[in-house]
């Protein structure tokens, strides 16, 4: 018979990824995938979990984030040397990045086209093309 518990989806998706549906992974899953697309850092996710009454160690958060990434449930986004962002949107897309706030926004991938790229060097295969549009508040008094 079919389960009617919440998380039924999550349980199956985790199993499909070869990951046991543990309490922690389910809690993180819910935080990550309940709303729309999200961009989180390990630290922010831990704070959220804590706010939701779930105690998860940072080590476990990192473990889960990397496991989810390997299972193609998350995508790592590199925009700032200081912090690693994980994106719940794993489809082909790009990013706006507001350096001052550390805020990331998706740019749908279908619209964007990059032309004029040279051929991939011999012996190399194209893995992915990342476009990062860096923004600053236009009313910043300086610069």
């Amino acid at each position: 018979m079919m389960s009617v518990r919440p998380y039924a989806d999550a349980v199956e998706k985790l199993r499909a990824a070869g990951l046991r549906p543990t309490r922690q992974r389910l809690a993180l899953w819910k935080l990550l995938f309940s709303g729309g697309d999200r961009h989180v850092t390990a630290e922010a996710l831990q704070a959220e979990a804590a706010g939701a009454g779930v105690r998860v160690s940072l080590a476990t958060i990192y473990n889960a984030l990397h496991q989810f990434t390997q299972a193609d449930l998350l995508r790592e986004v590199v925009v700032d040397g200081a912090k690693t962002y994980f994106d719940t949107n794993t489809t082909d897309h790009h990013h706006f990045y507001v350096e001052r706030d550390g805020e990331l926004m998706d740019i749908p991938g279908e619209a964007v086209e990059v032309s004029g790229l040279p051929a991939t060097p011999a012996g190399m295969a194209l893995e992915r093309v990342d476009v990062i549009v860096r923004l600053r508040a236009s009313d910043e008094s300086k610069a």
Copy 2:
């Protein structure tokens, strides 16, 4: 009268940037700008300096790299959360990145065009558009 010492250019460029042409900065300058375009990490640059018989502390390397960056003599490139790269090419251009080797290659900027980007959000000004083409060795046995 005109100086015929090596570094004459460097001395002037540093002065123009408001930086004293100290022994360390001149040595780093030479390492950075003697060849063609280069992509270096702080650690790699220190190793190079050491190999050239110049002892410079990592702290000084970081100081110099950031000062050069502020003076628009270098450009910071973010491709990997673990390490910060500095690029001696400050003109508008993009990058190939081979994750496995941590190798960066320039893609001339004139050729590349990014189209279909949505309008910059209200109150925001466009700072820069970075295109990173991630590559992997095509003969990698796995994945």
